[in-house]
Amino acid sequence: MRKYLKDLTELPGISSREEKVREYIKSQVEGKVNNITIDNLGNLICFVKGKDSSKKMMVDAHMDEVGFMVTKINDDGTLGISPVGGVDPRVIKSQRLKIEGVLNAVVNSTPIHLDKDIKRVIKYEEIKVYAGFSSKEEASKKVNLGDMVTFDTTYVEEGNYALSKAFDDRVGCSIMLDIIDYIYENKLQPAFDTYFNFATQEEVGLRGTGVAAARIKPDFALVLEGTTAGDNPENPPEKWATHIGNGPVITFMHSGLVIKKEMFETIVNAAKALNIKFQYKMRTAGGTNAAKLAKTMYGIPAGVISVPCRYIHSPLAILNIDDYNNTYSLVKELVTNNERWVNYERAH
């Protein structure tokens, strides 16, 4: 388990440029699932036949990460960038970046000797990315407008913690891959006909998953996420969204959606039955693909289960390995055990 997490987080893949992540995932699931589809938006849909084919379950995690796009090539050979998804400009001063996953670059940072106002936030309008080019002409030979720019971060795992970029939401992708492996290696079947959707374009407004759902037409869905923690010393505990180490995060409500009561209870009861540590998300800011699914087709009910992560949408996020393992156990239980859904089905 967790053997894909390092590779997944280190791959570059901003919204609409998920191809490297998609290829990697596809190469890992080939031969393990009944069918693989890549749709018009680039969603990778992996179908596994279930014990009960009267229902279709969709399990969803998004492949895209927040990052940047080259939006200008300056006369001096530096590059202007704009965020793809929500990246606070304060986390990128003097940061190391990769252009198209290959070219080394840095975010220029005026020396403190020349810019003494250390409270001032350097905004995207003034940020210049430097790859070593001295003119626009020279830069244009290797860099194009629209090129993908990502954080240059390598994965570290030590003790009970892992550190990397893009846990939002490669951690969800990783758990789906682990569950596909579990089902395949143990020659099992999921509870229902199950569609694992590796979604595109979540970070730019939940644009991928609805298209995938329109193809799948699921009865219900589980959305897996890497979610905010906020449990740091500058944030008083009453403002925390979650606390890493306290287990999988179960969402009752977030931006644009109150989770359907029976769905929420099904997830909570499964966690209780497994006797694992779990927590509720204490803040409702931020949304997930569940909000999109609720407004897709006939309205697809979805639950949200997340791994809590500190410092998401920055080059360095931290998660707790026990949280990962317990989230995996909880999702695995819901995907494979029909009994967990008896009450949910009775309500319909």
Binding site: G86, D88, R90, V91, I92, K93, S94, Q95, R96, L103, N104, A105, V106, V107, N108, S109, T110, P111, I112, H113, L114, D115, I118, K119, R120, V121, I122, Y130, G132, F133, S134, E138, K142, V156, E157, E158, G159, Y161, A162, L163, T228, G230, N232, P233, E234, N235, K239, A241, I244, R283, A285, R310, Y311, I312, H313, S314, P315, L316, I318, N320
Partner: protein
């Protein structure tokens, strides 16, 4: 000696002010690779001095070895700690970075975390955190149980190649200067230098020119040339700006002896070494400010390597500037020795 490998190795080495001893062995190794016939000693407060040749003139090149860093100022709980700056650190350059601390229990990796935008208050978005607000998260190294107040750290990044012979690293200030001294010694091997060359690798510049004074007192050279870095950014409109890749910067001004400046410029011209000129009205902000007024006064010059993003983990240098500066220094030493011998013959 490949200049890229040299500067990358030097920049990656841990050597925050007071921890220069971690970088000295690397410098000694590079010097001995060039010529075993060099005398290495630690003097005074702990500067590393390498002496080559004997007699007159006595020419000293100075470079500070220390880099800026951070220090643990307070342990908050079993996960988090607070930090302060060692030298001129812009707290904005620390946000979202990995940091590595030297502790008595080994190296400890931490993260300077930042709240995700989803949870931020709108009124906080317009200011960057100060040292009072920054914190280090030691989750990935077993928490703070092995961390003590006073433990010193750096931003944990490796030197990498950029396009066009440029290297980005955390401690180009002033390992670029260190590299220039080492490379100048290498160049000198092919020259008929007759005199004494002293390379002084100094401690403590970033907190106030601590090492250079003692070294100058001890060495009492006939000529001293300080090698440091300078800004490659656009400077205010009343001051000439420098470009990286356009050669070393030779300084003229109060903390520089005019004769040394003249000889450096003449050497550059005679040898077709591309250079730039910096006019310093009062102090240079480098070791020249103290070296020149040590004892009965020392004839002092300044050669700087222009870099980008000084005092950030993304300091950028063009290796051709290091090579040119090294060649300039070696030829300067040769010329001064020829000049001295010439005058002795009269």
């Amino acid at each position: 000696m490949d200049t890229k490998d040299l500067i990358k190795n030097l920049s990656d080495s841990f050597g925050v002010t007071s921890f220069e001893n971690c970088t000295f062995p690397l410098i000694e190794q590079f010097l001995l690779e060039i010529n075993q016939d060099i005398k290495l000693e630690k003097i005074g407060i702990g500067n590393l001095v390498a002496t080559y040749g004997q007699g007159n003139p006595k020419i000293a090149f100075f470079a500070h070895v220390d880099e800026i860093g951070i220090v643990i100022s307070n342990i908050i709980d079993d996960t988090f700690a607070r930090i302060e700056a060692v030298g001129g650190v812009d707290p904005r350059t620390l946000v979202g970075k990995r940091v590595c601390f030297r502790t008595e229990n080994g190296e400890k990796l931490g993260v300077i975390g930042f709240l995700a935008p989803h949870l931020q208050k709108p009124e906080d978005k317009d200011k960057s955190p100060s040292f009072d607000e920054l914190f280090v998260d030691f989750s990935v190294s077993g928490g703070t149980k092995d961390i003590n107040v006073g433990d010193i750290g750096v931003i944990n990044v490796e030197a990498k190649d950029l396009e066009n012979d440029q290297i980005v690293g955390k401690a180009i200030d002033n390992r670029a200067g260190v590299a220039v001294l080492i490379k100048s010694f290498e160049y000198l091997q092919n020259l008929k230098f007759d005199g004494q060359l002293m390379l002084s690798f100094n401690k403590g510049e970033e907190v106030g020119l601590v090492g250079a004074k003692g070294a100058a007192e001890y060495l009492q050279p006939d000529y001293a040339v300080v090698v440091d870095v300078t800004f490659g950014e656009r400077l205010p409109e009343n001051v000439e700006s420098f470009k990286i890749g356009e050669g070393p910067v030779i300084t003229i001004g109060a903390p520089i002896n005019r004769c040394v400046y003249d000889d450096l410029v003449k050497t550059a011209k005679d040898n077709n070494i591309k250079y730039q000129i910096e006019a310093v009205p009062s102090r240079s902000g480098t070791e020249t400010d103290i070296v020149q007024i040590v004892g009965q006064g020392i004839k002092t010059g300044l050669v700087s390597v222009p870099i980008l993003n000084m005092h950030s983990p993304s300091e950028v240098v063009n290796i051709n500037d290091i090579d040119r500066a090294a060649k300039l220094l070696a030829m300067f030493a040769l010329n001064m020795s020829l000049k001295t011998k010439g005058s002795l013959n009269v």
